[in-house]
């Protein structure tokens, strides 16, 4: 039986889809079978980031409505054979998702895959609640910035009350992933520090993904960053996070400010 992981945040634009694709690819690279599911009905992005937008025939809503079988809707990644995508519909809206339908699809996926990663839409409405409803574990994506942190706090509260696990008295495993971390700005006090974020959210830290141009380049070519630029800082951070998800204990790499050659030689910034 596979594990259902929801990638959620509350706030939009913090890196949920990027994280779903990168973690999915990183887990698949270790040999596990992974399906990434896009729950953002009407505003789908996961297919773009995975580079599968030209192969979408059927989607999650079609499967829920019985118009297509799951095997017809699943798209296999061209680069990693154990990585699959179940895209969302672009033409419908979130009302087409039903709790019973989502439960059925997730149940089928759990039997076929080691990991079922649900990419939640932003917000706290129906789409986000259904994405987390059947989850065993959650990755809460947060930027080290006040509005993102407050929204993440809200979503953590909902994970503890609106999931099937919470309603039956069990706890859902929660992991915090800090994305777009810019250590230079944190040092200048323009961004919250890692300690501040951890103190406010009191949730175990899964990883720290540094702000990087590689992420944008990767999504523009339709590839998760862990596949297209494996040696880049964000890719390495995502791969460590994937190993932590699998239960390995990996020491946390805190991104440090990049210093140019002159800074290293003379230890000062130019006036």
């Amino acid at each position: 039986m596979g594990k259902v992981l929801v990638v959620t945040s509350g706030k939009g634009g913090v890196g949920k889809t990027t994280t779903t694709a990168s973690l999915g690819a990183a887990l698949a690279q270790t040999g596990e079978t992974v399906v990434v599911v896009d729950f953002d009905v009407g505003l789908r992005n996961l297919d773009l980031v995975m580079g599968a937008e030209r192969r979408v025939v059927f989607d999650l809503i079609n499967v829920i409505q019985g118009v297509a079988k799951l095997s017809q809707a699943l798209i296999r990644d061209k680069r990693l054979e154990s990585l699959w995508l179940l895209p969302a519909s672009q033409t419908r809206d979130k009302d087409a998702l039903t709790e019973e339908g989502v439960g059925r699809v997730i149940g089928e996926l759990k039997e076929k895959f080691d990991w079922v990663i649900c990419d939640s839409p932003a917000g706290i409405e129906r789409g986000a609640i259904l994405a987390m409803r059947y989850a065993d574990a959650a990755v809460i994506v947060t930027n080290p910035e006040v509005s993102s942190v407050r929204d993440s706090d809200r979503i953590i509260g909902m994970l503890d009350s609106k999931t099937m696990r919470a309603e039956s008295g069990e706890r859902i495993d929660k992991h915090l992933l800090i994305t777009r971390y810019d250590s230079a700005r944190a040092a200048r006090g323009e961004m919250l520090s890692i300690d501040d974020v951890l103190e406010i959210l009191s949730t175990p830290l899964l990883g720290i993904i540094p702000e990087s141009q590689d992420v944008l380049r990767a999504s523009n070519v339709g590839s998760p960053v862990t596949l297209s630029s494996r040696l880049s800082a964000p890719a390495r951070a995502y791969m460590e996070a994937a190993r932590r998800l699998q239960g390995e204990s990996v020491s946390m790499t805190v991104p440090s400010p990049k210093r140019g050659l002159f800074d290293k030689l003379f230890g000062r910034r130019a006036a």
Binding site: D153, G157, D160, I200
Partner: protein, 235 residues
Amino acid sequence: MPLANQRTMRFLGRSYMAFVFTPEEPLIEWLAQLDGWLARSPGFFGGRPVVLDLANVKLHKPGIAHLVSCLLERDIRVIGLESADPAQLGPDLPPLLSGRPVNGNEVIALSRPEPAQAPAPPPRPQAASLLIDRPVRSGQSIVFPEGDVSVLGSVGSGAEIVAGGSIHIYGTLRGRAMAGHMGNARARIFCQKIEAELLAINGYYRTAEEIDAGLRGRPMQAWLNDNVMMITALN
């Protein structure tokens, strides 16, 4: 017609918590004060039950009706009246609430109500307390009118704790804490780190702007001294 199949109806009594407004004369000024509070916290009372205590005003039926409709214009719905002359009320006004609080689901015997029953004094609050052993997240609302609330963790921004007794937070208070909510002026609020949005004791409140900047980020306690809220550091 046999009555064998008639089921007996049970009428249960249940206690709810509501805000109580005690308007004072002149009413125009009181309404203006209310408007000022609403301007700072719009929609605060929207959807929450409000009771109107008319002890300090002398109003006849049209006056009471006008006051209720003024409040309705401000999106405040009055669900009951206190200290009103029963002769001035009618079916189109909120019902008169007696001062006798009912605890839990008490089954009330259907009997003819005695006329002019003097309201019993409120019973001494039971020493009940609620312990929450995890952080209170943004958007969550903990309401415990029966007594004290203790939180083993922080209270997130946008969360609120409402207690009949005192509030003890073993962590950082970033949301709102409202203690002594059922008329207990001796309730206090304690926390290990104060970054609160609002503190209130027995209805007297202070917003974040009014809390001394030198205290922020430190352990603190808040209590009422003659209806003025005192906030001091705990060490």
